[in-house]
């Protein structure tokens, strides 16, 4: 392998790393919230940060007691270059015949192995 090839590979790897770091975490948060509403364990497991791994059963069951849970008017955006994503919109669910709503808020994201992960509400 020539020196030039090595340099090209190194450049590509660093570009890939940069791309992951700068990738927008907002879609990850949106996917996470959709999965939470749907009780989609596979996606939740994929997108949940390591420090919250023990909370997975709770996250999966969050909307088990209600029906027709859905997210309305969701719009999420990263707050500057911070590790937070602010979302607007709300989750609507039905209990019996009554609607109950949960406003979306600001969430913490962390990078693990180059991937953004949802890591709870931002304090």
């Amino acid at each position: 392998m020539t020196m030039r090839t090595i340099l090209v590979i190194a450049l590509l790897l660093s570009l890939a790393a940069c791309a992951a770091e700068t990738a927008d975490p907002a879609p990850v948060v949106e996917r996470y919230l959709q999965a939470k509403v749907a009780g989609d364990e596979t996606t939740l497991r994929e997108l949940l940060c390591l420090s919250m791994e023990a909370d997975l059963p709770r996250e999966v069951s969050s909307f088990a007691s209600v029906t027709d849970a859905r997210i309305e008017n969701m719009a999420c955006a990263r707050v500057g270059e911070t590790n937070t994503v602010q979302c607007t919109g709300e989750i609507i669910a039905v209990y019996g015949t009554e609607d109950t709503s949960f406003p979306l808020t600001t969430y913490r994201v962390v990078q693990e192995d180059g991937e953004w992960k949802w890591c709870g509400e931002a304090g």
Partner: protein
């Protein structure tokens, strides 16, 4: 005249003079003890006068006797207080309390599991451990006259405990609960962020379910409620929702976490079993959930209200048409003057909860 007859006559004369007298407003079975699991021994017809001799700890069952003019006792047994006419002629504060008789005869239960549930008193005695928790809570700044609700829609029901704040209660014979209602009542005027429809023992720890107006980011509904109210006591009511979505083992793990977080904060958690209809497809699952609740109560020595056992004598077991929520009387206030506690789940639920609070207030000398 033999001494035995003399004593019987003396007893009969004493009862006529001292024991208050009333009648039943409809036919009611008379049992050997204060609960329907005790064998029934007679029927008391409406309008027939009986003397009230003693009562159980809650006050929802009384022992009545009927004697002839010559002193022969022709009736001696227990009936639910709510079946008796209340016209101000008797006050439970003046009736001796039988503190040794059990609330049920578990040997007569249909199943071993239900026998175990019947064996648990309708309300716990306050343990020494809770005296320690109360003192610890006071040191942390918990407010002795503040009670809050934690639970699902059965707990959220605005007719459960919240009417204690109205000041228009009609206690009927349960006059001894007056001070307790006045003491805790004002704290129940506000809602609880830890009591919400659809809530389960999982989501009580999920910040997403916390009220964003009152709770801090990342704060769980339980932590938020305890921070806002600083309560000395939390009435915890979970089960009717959870039973549809998790196993009893998972439920027990979550309930233990709720109890431990409460104790850590100096809050006395009062647990409660829940009613279930025998025809419900989840009957056995609910029985197991209730057994887990009694086990956790015993393990941590925290108070427990055995609503399941008490509600067995109510029409439809105190449940509303959906078989999940408890039936309301239709009255907005706390009303025990017309026997609602033997007809409506919410009225019985309120009676047991207020009586449990009464036990805590008196034992812990709360003021």
């Amino acid at each position: 005249m033999p001494i035995r007859i003399l004593l019987a006559l003396l007893l009969a004369a004493t009862l006529r003079v001292e024991a208050p007298q009333t009648t039943a407003y409809q036919e009611v079975f008379v049992h050997r003890g204060p609960g329907h699991t005790f064998h029934d021994i007679a029927r008391l017809n409406p309008g027939v006068p009986v003397h009230i001799i003693e009562r159980n700890r809650v006050g929802n069952w009384v022992r009545v006797t009927r004697t002839t003019d010559n002193g022969t006792v022709v009736l001696d047994g227990w009936v639910p207080t709510g079946y008796l006419n209340y016209d101000g002629s008797f006050h439970l504060s003046e009736i001796p309390v039988n503190t040794t008789i059990a609330d049920a005869d578990p040997a007569n239960a249909d199943y071993v599991s239900t026998g175990k549930l019947y064996a648990v008193p309708l309300i716990s005695e306050v343990s020494r451990a809770m005296q320690g928790v109360y003192r610890y809570g006071q040191a942390l700044g918990k407010r002795s006259n503040v009670v809050t609700k934690v639970g699902d829609s059965v707990s959220t029901n605005s007719l459960y405990l919240n009417p204690m704040s109205r000041g228009d209660h009609e206690l009927g014979p349960y006059d001894f609960l007056e001070e307790t209602i006045n003491f805790f009542g004002p704290s129940l005027a506000a809602g609880s962020v830890a009591s919400r429809i659809g809530m389960t023992t999982y989501v009580i720890f999920d910040p997403l379910w916390a009220d964003k107006e009152h709770c801090n980011p990342g704060e769980t509904p339980l932590a938020c409620e305890y921070r806002i109210k600083q309560p000395a006591i939390a009435m915890i009511l979970f089960g009717p929702n959870d039973v549809r979505h998790m196993t009893d083992a998972e439920f027990a793990v979550q309930m233990r976490e709720i109890v431990e977080q409460s104790l850590d904060q100096g809050v006395i958690p009062v647990l409660s079993t829940f009613s279930v209809h025998p025809d419900d497809r989840l009957w056995w699952q609910a029985i197991n959930f209730n057994l887990r609740l009694t086990e956790i109560s015993a393990e941590y020595e925290v108070p427990l209200i055995n609503f399941w056992a008490a509600s067995r004598i109510l029409p439809e077991y105190g449940l509303d048409v959906d078989g999940i929520h408890v039936a309301n009387s239709g009255f907005p206030n706390i009303k025990f003057s017309t026997g609602h506690e033997v007809w409506y789940g919410t009225s019985l639920q309120n009676l047991l909860a207020i009586r449990m609070l009464d036990e805590l207030r008196r034992t812990l000398d709360m003021h």
